[in-house]
Symmetry: C2
Subunit: 207 residues, 2 copies
Amino acid sequence: EIPEVVINRLPVYARALADLDSQGETVVSSHTLGEMLDVTPAQIRKDLSYFGRFGKQGRGYHVPSLLTRLREILGLNRHWRVALVGVGRLGQAIAEYNGFGPQGFHVVAVFDENPELFGKAIAGTTVRDSAELDGYLQATPVDIGIVAVPAVAAQEVVDRMVAGGVRAILNYAPTSPLVPAMVTIRNVDPVLAMQSMTYYVKRGETT
Amino acid sequence: EIPEVVINRLPVYARALADLDSQGETVVSSHTLGEMLDVTPAQIRKDLSYFGRFGKQGRGYHVPSLLTRLREILGLNRHWRVALVGVGRLGQAIAEYNGFGPQGFHVVAVFDENPELFGKAIAGTTVRDSAELDGYLQATPVDIGIVAVPAVAAQEVVDRMVAGGVRAILNYAPTSPLVPAMVTIRNVDPVLAMQSMTYYVKRGETT
Ligand SMILES: NC(=O)c1ccc[n+]([C@@H]2O[C@H](COP(=O)([O-])OP(=O)(O)OC[C@H]3O[C@@H](n4cnc5c(N)ncnc54)[C@H](O)[C@@H]3O)[C@@H](O)[C@H]2O)c1
Ligand SMILES: NC(=O)c1ccc[n+]([C@@H]2O[C@H](COP(=O)([O-])OP(=O)(O)OC[C@H]3O[C@@H](n4cnc5c(N)ncnc54)[C@H](O)[C@@H]3O)[C@@H](O)[C@H]2O)c1
């Protein structure tokens, strides 16, 4: 079982390698990669060692092949179908987010319970009644669900996604929905992010 | 120097302890805390050891005093002034986010460059012209800046925040703005979160 912190670093490595690749760099050392990402070279070597032998000692990594390998490991070389539930202020911003498409994440369906939003054109599709979510998921496989509803509604929406076969959920509501073991959930939590920053601000004040 | 991954876990510990405290629990073992948070008991003990001796071997941690100590370490026992730049779809959802206030994060000023938004009432304040950002920051200290503008505008907004004395930045734009060493920045990046989930979805498909 590979530690989750390692898996969480791989997309960061892949993005850095993609940048190098687009700049025409063919070799990179763990030292240079570490400097780019604020990760120690030893940590990079250890993380990659879970997946096989990459690069030769002292010669660095071959950028295109390491990038290809990481994309395979993470499943980034395919397309992923995404369903969004909750198309209020945040949901509309997410539906229009132009960072998803180029990385193979396609918002294929959006749902809301507010009848005023039904049929509204957004992100190349139209808003559906969230009462249809269950039926939609029975008929059409979806890989990733995004939750952008108020906290009180989040657990119910997550449960319906899981029952409909969704195995990865990105939750923006300020709550930690429970999911069964075979489902991965990530909570986007600005408060936790801020609370980890205040440690540094506080420290800076006394130095 | 305490590793950043450790600092990032402390708010998660504090939140779990606050939940236990509100339920009237006075003692918790590293084992129970670990089960709640999917972190090994050894990792919890190691993380806390950076900050002193807590709890007695075999007797667990005293919930109220560990919570108080963590809140002190992270600076959660005070109020933090937050400024938001970009009050479009996402910015409005952030300004109204009701998770900030109870944790001591107060949005004190919001800015945008769109004249149609100037003076609009939001989150207990009114939208200011972002041209006034620099003057505002000279006159009024702000601890945390939130960036909710398009990617092309993010670096410039960050630079102005830093020049105005802001030392912690939460960035939602799909880009990685550069900041000087004394500034902490966190990027809210849904694509990286999704890319770390696809590893598990892909693995689940083959098992
Ligand atoms: N994590 C973050 O960074 C962040 C930032 C801002 C807001 N938020 C959170 O995102 C959520 C949405 O915020 P918002 O400002 O867009 O709110 P909003 O009220 O504008 O939108 C919520 C939408 O969800 C819909 N909805 C409610 N219950 C539903 C259900 N059971 N099924 C389907 N649709 C349902 C509503 O009709 C509405 O359109 C809130 O939970 C908020 O706290 C998170
Ligand atoms: N990280 C996430 O989870 C997430 C989700 C959705 C959107 N986003 C990102 O958030 C940002 C905002 O998205 P949105 O949907 O609200 O866009 P939007 O176009 O609705 O809002 C952007 C706002 O920024 C203002 N603005 C632009 N340049 C500015 C500048 N230099 N100074 C001050 N204000 C300026 C605009 O006037 C507008 O009001 C985008 O970068 C988007 O990619 C991030």
